[in-house]
């Protein structure tokens, strides 16, 4: 309960950094969707959950883990496309809050379907990667792996957006969605591609999360608010801002949890978030709107 600058404190800080990689990856998908389509998928972590169950079943069914991971990413990419095609597209022209709420309906639906299909018990893929010990501190390999893969995924997306034709088109439509159709760009197709990428990122996050966390239908309620907070703090749609915000928030959680109870770490993070937004409503790293 007490806060001392000892080796455990350092351990907490480094574990916070490792957690930040995963959170940044989760926030990245949401920011991509918001930046391009101007929609908040409030059911984003539920897509991750779908991916986690997919990976769990593929792995338990005998597939090697990497194949199961690919399967999970494909499922969530498909789920992203379906979500956009069936749910978002019909309300794209209505007030923005409708789009947020309609994905809230999907949140309930996915949660309930997962409960019906898999029950409420916690599941685990049962892969133990062990941990690394450095000077009395221990860091689990799954966290280190998650951090590295998340970083790699972000760099890959960055390169994709920077260097490919499709990526350039996606960045262009994020800047001005009225002009791009006039330039002969099929915005509907771009939205579908973006949804697929956003869903795929959820699948990648799912791959990393099955190694660390148990799978259960309500997992979205545990991570969801955290991810939204990170996105808003970094400036909705601002991918680099979200990345930095993930590191700030995860430090609050890690240090707060090591000094007090876990909930207080989270509570302080949420309080910090609200105060930060009141000081800079466009997000810490958002431009003037």
């Amino acid at each position: 309960m007490d806060c001392q600058l000892d080796v455990f404190f350092l351990e907490a800080i480094i574990n916070g950094l490792l957690l930040a990689g995963l959170l940044a990856l989760l926030a990245l998908g949401l920011n991509l969707i918001f930046g391009v389509i101007d929609v908040v998928w409030i059911c984003y972590v539920e897509l991750v959950m779908v991916g986690m169950y997919g990976i769990n079943y593929a792995y338990k069914g005998g597939a090697p883990f990497l194949l199961a991971a690919v399967f999970g990413i494909l499922i969530t990419a498909l789920a992203g496309v379906l979500l956009h095609f069936l749910v978002i597209r019909p309300v794209l022209e209505t007030p923005p809050i409708n789009q947020l709420l309609v994905t809230g309906g999907v949140l309930f639906l996915l949660q309930a379907l997962a409960t019906m299909a898999f029950g409420i018990e916690f599941r685990n893929v049962g892969i133990r990667l062990g941990s690394m010990n450095v000077a009395d501190m221990s860091f689990s390999w799954s966290r280190i792996l998650a951090f590295l893969v998340a970083l790699g995924g972000m760099l890959a997306l960055w390169q994709f957006l920077k260097r490919t034709y499709l990526g350039t088109a996606i960045r262009a439509i994020a800047q001005d969605r009225q002009i791009m159709p006039l330039m002969g760009v099929d915005s509907r197709r771009l939205y579908l591609v973006t949804s697929a990428i956003g869903g795929g990122l959820a699948g990648l996050a799912a791959t990393l999360m099955v190694l660390q966390y148990d799978i259960y239908p309500q997992i979205g309620l545990q991570f969801g608010p955290l991810i939204f907070m990170i996105c808003v703090l970094g400036g909705l749609g601002n991918m680099i801002g979200g990345f930095i915000a993930a590191f700030i928030i995860s430090q609050f959680i890690a240090v707060g949890s090591s000094c007090f109870h876990t909930e207080w770490g989270y509570a302080v993070a949420f309080l910090f978030f609200m105060v930060a937004i009141f000081i800079r409503p466009q997000g810490l790293f958002g431009g003037k709107t």
């Binding site: 908040v40 749910v87 923005p96 947020l100 379907l113 808003v232 109870h261 509570a267 309080l271």
Partner: protein, 346 residues
């Protein structure tokens, strides 16, 4: 403020709702308690939903009302359990606290013009913060397991404001609460503030340029709306005699409030009530249907528990896409078109 004109239809409606328990007693004497419980739940949630819709109808889509119901419920129960303070004082304190929190969060939001997505996500953070505080103070609140108000005597007490064993009494208490909620809604609907807020929700700059103090108007409605929700949360605690961070606070509850109101209709007096009837009857109806039918039970097994939520989620998606005005809003549109007997020109 002019007195509200009472129409005959309204009088008949109120009398009909007041007579419902008698009907229940006549038709289902054996399972009276169960049906009364259902009715109480509907009216209590209808009151909370009406409180939310005060804000929601003006484009202030708050996901923070789970925090207000939680503050109302927990303040009342904590004061009773640990300070022995009667809920007659505890409830007003809870309401005041919720209003203060609402204004504290609302003021910067409205000054800085935080609207739409940002407002929804910011209020969501408030909900999460309050829930985490409740869980974190587990020595007092019982953490995520929840807690109970201390029973006084046989469970019926004026001083402790406990009435749960007497369902008839509970019904009329909640009925009065519901009427009070509708009255507030009407008062707001017929006030100048309503026009100011309507204007502000359409175009804030234009509203401000004709002399409307937008921030002030929004703060007033936020304080009122959070007060009503806290009141509802406190009465919920007194009736259920149990509160838990997920039953009366938290994100799930916030979303439930928003969706029930959307399902019923956000812009009409009875829309939230219809939403409450719809959601409660859907959940209970499915439960009874599944329990009653052996084939359904065998087919679904334990997963039947989540069936109502799945249908609920699916319906919400359909509602927002095809019927954004909700059941009552769309219904009254149809009714108007029928009466006009002409091709609709929307």
């Amino acid at each position: 403020m002019s007195a509200l004109r009472v129409r005959p239809a309204a009088v008949i409606g109120i009398l009909a709702v007041a007579a419902l328990p008698l009907l229940v007693r006549l038709v289902f004497p054996a399972s009276e308690k169960y049906y009364l419980h259902l009715l109480i739940q509907i009216l209590l949630w209808a009151f909370i939903y009406t409180g939310w819709s005060l804000m929601g109808r003006f484009g202030l889509t708050s996901l923070g009302h789970g925090a207000f119901t939680g503050i109302g419920a927990y303040t009342t129960v904590m004061l009773w359990n640990f300070a022995g303070l009667t809920p007659w004082l505890g409830i007003p304190i809870g309401i005041m606290l919720a209003s203060i929190v609402g204004v504290l969060v609302g003021y910067p939001c409205f000054r800085l013009r935080i609207t739409g997505h940002y407002f929804a996500l910011l209020t969501l953070a408030l909900t999460e913060f309050v829930r985490l505080c409740i869980v974190g103070l587990r020595d007092y609140t019982g953490g995520s397991l929840g807690t109970q108000p201390k029973r006084s005597g046989d469970g019926i007490s004026l001083y402790a404001m406990q009435f749960e064993p007497d369902r008839m009494l509970s019904y009329y208490i909640v009925f009065a609460l519901w009427l009070f909620g509708l009255y507030i809604w009407l008062r707001v609907d017929r006030s100048m503030d309503r026009y100011a807020l309507d204007a502000a929700s359409q175009d804030e700059d234009a509203a401000a340029s004709v002399g409307i103090d937008v921030t002030r108007e929004k703060l007033k409605i936020t304080a009122l709306s959070s007060a009503l929700c806290a009141f509802g949360g406190a009465v919920f605690a007194q009736y259920q005699m149990y509160i838990g961070p997920d039953t009366i606070a938290g994100l799930g509850l916030s979303l439930n409030i928003v969706f029930a109101v959307i399902a019923g209709g956000m812009w009409t007096l009875l829309g939230p009530t219809v939403g409450a009837v719809f959601t409660q009857v859907l959940a209970e109806g499915l439960r009874v249907a599944i329990q009653g039918s052996a084939t359904l039970k065998g087919l679904l097994g334990s997963s039947a528990l989540a069936l109502d939520q799945a249908i609920y989620g699916l319906l919400l998606v359909l509602f927002i896409i095809y019927m954004p005005k909700g059941i009552l809003g769309t219904g009254s549109d149809w009714w108007r078109r029928l009466r006009q007997r002409g091709p609709a020109s929307s």
